[in-house]
Amino acid sequence: MNWVAVALTEDVPPGVVIPSRIEDTDLAIWCTPSGRYHAWSDRCPHRGMRLSHGFVRGDTLACIYHGWQYNEEGACDYIPAHPKLTPPDTICVPTYTCTEAGGVIWVSLNKTDSALPALGGRKPVRSLPINLSANDLAAHFGAEDYTTIAVVSDHDVLIAVQPCTDNACMAHVLASPDKDRTTVSRWLEDLRATLEGMPS
């Protein structure tokens, strides 16, 4: 699997961490105060707590449970219970390839040389959860792959699909900059109602 959209950048402002997932991989997506994005395994190595419940302090992501802080490489560099201790290099969180382009945060679970999907100058509208698998959503639009789906409609939208579970995906939707976002957003709500109402 190559690049998958996990969020829109305006939904993850500097200093924020959010939960996300690509199929069976739980992710913590966070943004440093200076605007760098990271995608990590959503699990603190200490006691298994989800890091997406934690907090960004300086250029670190801290776990909410015991405040362990991880630097941008995913290495633990501070354990509040032992303030004088330099944590061993072995305490680190698995990290994934993560980048921002076109107002979308993209993650690849493997190393990849492939180019990011072309967005054709479209701008992000919103992310919408849909109770439908990514494959079923792609099939509905006759698309072979769900990475990005161009939908021919009144609004010329592009859907970057994030596969979440067997029956749920997240649709990150982009549209031409001249489109009214509220109009597109309401059209999406109707589209979702139609898709979820279809017999599978």
Binding site: D26, D42, R43, P45, H46, R47, G48, M49, R50, H53, I64, Y65, H66, G67, I79, P80, A81, H82, P83, L85, T90, I91
Partner: protein, 278 residues
């Protein structure tokens, strides 16, 4: 299910709360709890009566044949203490995760902020932990931590001393400096009913010296603390407690948890445990 797990005593109800017969789960199996003419009873799914003990305000039962009596807390019997039925809270986590969290102090500044702990007072000093072979219990002593508001009866920050005791796999007893009575210990317990291996009902109970707070205030305080823990417990991965070293990384502050996991392994208590990396 092995006898190692069945033969323990488990809490299944608060005695003062038993009214009409209530169906619940114990170790994944249906049981019914009720009371007739002042005597509490527990029946399994086939209607067979299970053994019962009434102690610490709670009803205890066992699906097996317990080879020892339910543990005692002699300190709780001393006069002048107020016995507090805190009620139960259900949590989607392994019963063992719930106990382990109760044994942990390093989370206080982050999860019980400004009550049981506060930054920058985060350091955990070395304390003593051992498995007391003669009673087959885990004990941690000389545990000290700075607390902004250690109890309902505490005013201002104090360094609190703790002793932790694990007398049964899903139960823990905490002895804690008693703000109004230096030299005495408050007793705070966590009794965990394993509904399944990833779902539990937690029955906290307390025996405190506190002449000022109302009963409702003491109940509120403990429910506040436990519900702060619940949002942690429901978000640990995996839900089961890993017993094999390697899946999680303990530090010196986690000596009690390390001893608890080692003891569970030693006695073969694997219900709610994860034995191999998933």
């Amino acid at each position: 299910m092995t006898a190692t797990i069945d033969n323990h005593w488990y809490p299944v109800a608060m005695i003062s709360g038993i009214q009409a017969p209530r169906e619940t789960l114990l170790l994944g199996k249906k049981i019914t709890v009720g009371r007739e003419r002042g005597t509490c009873w527990v029946k399994d799914a086939s209607g067979n009566a299970l053994p019962t003990v009434e102690r610490f305000g709670h009803l205890w039962t066992s699906p097996g044949q317990p080879n020892r009596d339910l543990f005692t807390i002699p300190e709780a019997d001393s006069p002048g203490r107020r016995l507090v039925d805190v009620g139960s809270v259900k949590v989607k986590c392994s019963p063992l995760r719930a106990v382990e969290n109760f044994l942990d102090i390093a989370h206080f500044p982050f999860v019980h902020t400004d009550i049981l702990g506060a930054e920058p007072h985060t350091e955990v000093d070395r304390y003593d932990v051992k498995i007391r072979e003669e009673v087959d219990e885990v004990w941690a002593t000389k545990v000290k931590f700075f607390q902004p508001q250690a109890a309902k009866s505490a005013e201002g920050g104090i360094t609190t001393e703790y002793m932790y005791r694990v007398p049964a796999p899903t139960c823990s007893v905490l002895y804690k400096t008693c703000p109004p009575r230096p030299g005495e210990w408050d007793v705070i317990t966590l009794f965990v009913q394993p509904l399944t291996d990833e779902w539990c009902e937690v029955w906290p109970w307390m025996a405190l010296y506190d002449d000022d707070s109302t009963m409702s205030e003491m109940v509120s305080f403990q429910q506040l603390i436990f519900m702060q823990d619940r949002s942690i417990l429901e978000n640990q991965l995996p839900r089961k407690l890993p017993l094999d070293p390697g899946m999680e990384v303990p530090t010196q502050a986690d000596m009690t948890s390390v001893a608890y996991r080692r003891w569970l392994k030693k006695i073969g208590y694997t219900y709610g445990a994860q034995l191999v990396a998933a």
